[in-house]
């Protein structure tokens, strides 16, 4: 394509419209448009839109596929995801997973953070690695994620609208509402 473009330039074949010679959208072009809601390069200014920066690539691709199929409930992402192909999802996953971690300074309850910190070790750390900073495979990064978002998603899990991974459900089920809220305060507070 690059060759064609240069050739077009050289031949002076360029009319006022440049659309005829354009290359397909790059990963950047596809992903820039998400920033109006998720923040520049996926670093959300909050208070509820989730950050995508440094998210695990697989987690993003998985989320987009599930939004598209309707398996994962959403307010708006399902309608948007239907406008993209698997190759686009791959491009988005590549783009956002390469952005640097977006630390947030949120209003969290200190007592809940301390309680959550104790609870996560035994219950969540097997998958949500390194205080939720490390998103491995399909497990999303949770450190510094916006608390309101985490709470809204936990509500969807608890109501059965969003399906929990089985092994996660085993850990989540025995915990009280207060325990879970403490865990979310903890993850939201991790910012280094």
């Amino acid at each position: 394509m690059k060759q064609c473009w240069n050739a077009a330039l050289a031949a002076g074949a360029l009319a006022l419209s440049v659309s005829a010679q354009a290359a397909p959208p790059t990963p950047e072009m596809i992903s820039f448009s998400c920033a109006g809601c998720h923040g520049t390069n996926g670093g959300s200014a909050g208070l509820s839109m989730p950050s995508l920066a440094s998210q695990s690539k697989t987690a993003i691709i998985d989320a987009m596929k599930k939004f598209k199929s309707g398996e994962r409930p959403s307010t708006v992402m399902g309608r948007l995801a239907k406008g993209y192909t698997d190759a686009d999802f791959e491009a988005m996953g590549n783009f956002f997973s390469r952005q640097k971690f977006h630390p947030t300074a949120q209003a969290v309850d200190k007592a809940k953070v301390a309680k959550g910190s104790d609870l996560q070790e035994a219950n969540c750390s097997r998958c949500h690695l390194d205080d939720g900073k490390d998103g491995k495979d399909d497990t999303p990064v949770m450190a510094s994620q916006w608390l309101t978002y985490l709470q809204m998603q936990m509500d969807l899990y608890q109501s059965g609208k969003r399906k929990m991974p089985e092994k996660m459900a085993e850990k989540v089920k025995p915990l009280s509402k207060e325990d879970l809220d403490a865990l979310l305060h903890f993850y939201a507070s991790v910012n280094k």
Binding site: M1, K2, C4, W5, N6, L9, G12, L14, A15, L16, S17, V18, S19, A20, Q21, A22, A23, P24, P25, T26, E28, M29, I30, F32, S33, C34, A35, G36, C37, H38, G39, T40, S44, A45, G46, L47, S48, M49, T75, V76, R79, L80, A81, K82, G83, Y84, D88, W146, T148, M152
Partner: protein
């Protein structure tokens, strides 16, 4: 159209390609014309307007190629967002702080040079912009100036009319005026809203405003009513959602009437007239006049045969009137197939990024990249419920299309309205942060 070499270079812009800059003889411009604000040393993009489109275009040009100098010209030191101004008008929020940004961090973070001045002329041949602070030379110009009003289509409308019948379609003093009029209106009064034929800025905006004003009246002036006069024959945006909201929440104090185009105002008599056959009297009249691209682009000859909107290329947003000038945001007439991208803040944001990418590519002699963009508009129905319209856009055969089988409006059962209300507030915060950092 055959192009000789000089025309060809004119079309591309003198610094459009590294290779071409050489053959064009790279004239030195540093000598500077009288009144030049800052001499151009390297390659320069000038951006006119620091609103939803312009601020993002300036930022992304710098993010994508920091060797290009970017100068942004904006008349105001602070920008006040129209999105969410309806909350303020309806007394749900008490001030406009959350709507107001400045450019200090944006300029510092990205090395954007700010010029706070009024642009009075664009000279496409000389590639200069004339401002109240002096002139600026550019290699490529990006213009995102928003809208002005076609008040000449309303008989009796003069420069003072908006002081009595506010439009509040540009946020700031106008929003405060409408808010104050609503608050000082006696209970039992009638509010008239009048909205123009499409296309106009923010298709769902008048309907959102009608919901929020009706909400205000219901709570604070229960004997009052609101009448929305729509010049369009029917609701043009999110129809099932707004009609449901009106009939569910506001059936006692709100009336929608389609095909009522206001053609005349009677300021002294506090009324508006529809084609001289029917008058509507109001204690408060919110008259939103028909619109066109902002005055500066009309004066610069960037508007099309309709004399209203600026035709552009669907990929680079380059004007089809003047090469080297790109127009984005509300001011554009986009080549479209199917329903066009709405004139919204989100659209302007998305277009700014595509435009920035392609301006950078053109200046570096690289092939342009096709459009991929999103528009989402949230609209509030009251103080705790919102709905949205969302679409993904792409280019097909030189035209912008909404990707088939995607997008659409929120579910009509209102099952998501509370969650969307929460996310909508976060949208505003994110998009304004994007524009100001």
């Amino acid at each position: 159209m055959t192009l000789d070499r000089r025309n060809f270079i004119k079309i591309l812009g003198s610094a459009s390609g590294v290779a071409l800059a050489g053959c064009a003889g790279a004239p030195s411009i540093s000598s500077g014309s009288a009144g030049e604000i800052m001499a151009k040393t390297g390659r320069r993009v000038v951006v006119i307007g620091g609103g939803y489109g312009g601020s993002i275009a300036a930022k992304y040009v710098r993010m994508l190629d920091s060797s290009i100098e970017v100068v942004m010209v904006e008349r105001n030191k602070q920008f006040i967002s129209c999105p969410f101004s309806n909350f303020y008008i309806a007394g749900i929020t008490s001030d406009m702080n959350a709507l107001t940004i400045n450019y200090d961090k944006l300029a510092a973070n990205h090395g954007i040079k700010m010029v706070y001045a009024e642009v009075s002329a664009i000279d496409p041949a000389a590639k200069t912009v004339v401002t109240s602070a002096g002139t600026l030379t550019y290699d490529r110009l990006i213009v995102s100036p928003g809208i002005d009003f076609r008040t000449e289509e309303i008989e009796g409308y003069n420069a003072q009319t908006p002081d009595i019948f506010p439009h509040a379609w540009k946020a700031g003093a106008q929003s405060t005026l409408l808010r104050n009029q609503l608050q000082s209106m006696k209970d039992g009064g009638t509010v008239i809203m009048s909205m123009p034929l499409t296309p106009y800025r923010c298709p769902p905006g008048p309907y959102e405003r009608s919901c929020l004003i009706a909400h205000y009246l219901k709570q604070h002036k229960p004997k009052s009513k609101l009448i929305l006069l729509d010049a369009n024959p029917d609701v043009v945006s999110k129809k099932p959602l707004f009609t449901k909201a009106w009939s569910t929440y506001y059936k006692d104090n709100f009336q929608y009437i389609g095909a009522k185009k206001v053609t005349q105002v009677n300021v002294a008599g506090k009324s508006v007239s529809i084609e001289g056959v029917e008058d509507f009297k109001g204690d408060v009249i919110n008259l939103i006049p028909p619109q066109r691209a902002a005055n500066i682009v009309v004066a610069a000859g960037l508007v099309g045969d309709d004399k209203k909107w600026c035709p552009v290329d669907a990929v680079s947003f380059q004007s089809t009137k003047h090469p080297g000038i790109h127009v984005i945001g509300d001011a554009t007439a986009l080549p479209s197939e199917g329903p066009p991208m709405p004139k919204s803040g989100y659209s302007a944001n998305a277009q700014a990024k595509v435009c920035a990418q392609n301006v950078v590519n053109l200046m570096n002699g690289k092939e342009p990249v096709e459009f991929s963009g999103i528009n989402v508009c949230y609209s509030a129905l009251n103080e705790h419920e919102s709905v949205s319209v969302a679409n993904v856009y792409a280019v097909k055969g030189g035209k912008i299309i909404s990707v088939p089988n995607s997008g659409g409006i929120s579910p009509a059962d209102f099952s998501q309205t509370k969650a969307e209300h929460v996310y909508a507030a976060s949208w505003l915060r994110n998009i304004l942060t994007e524009m100001s950092t």
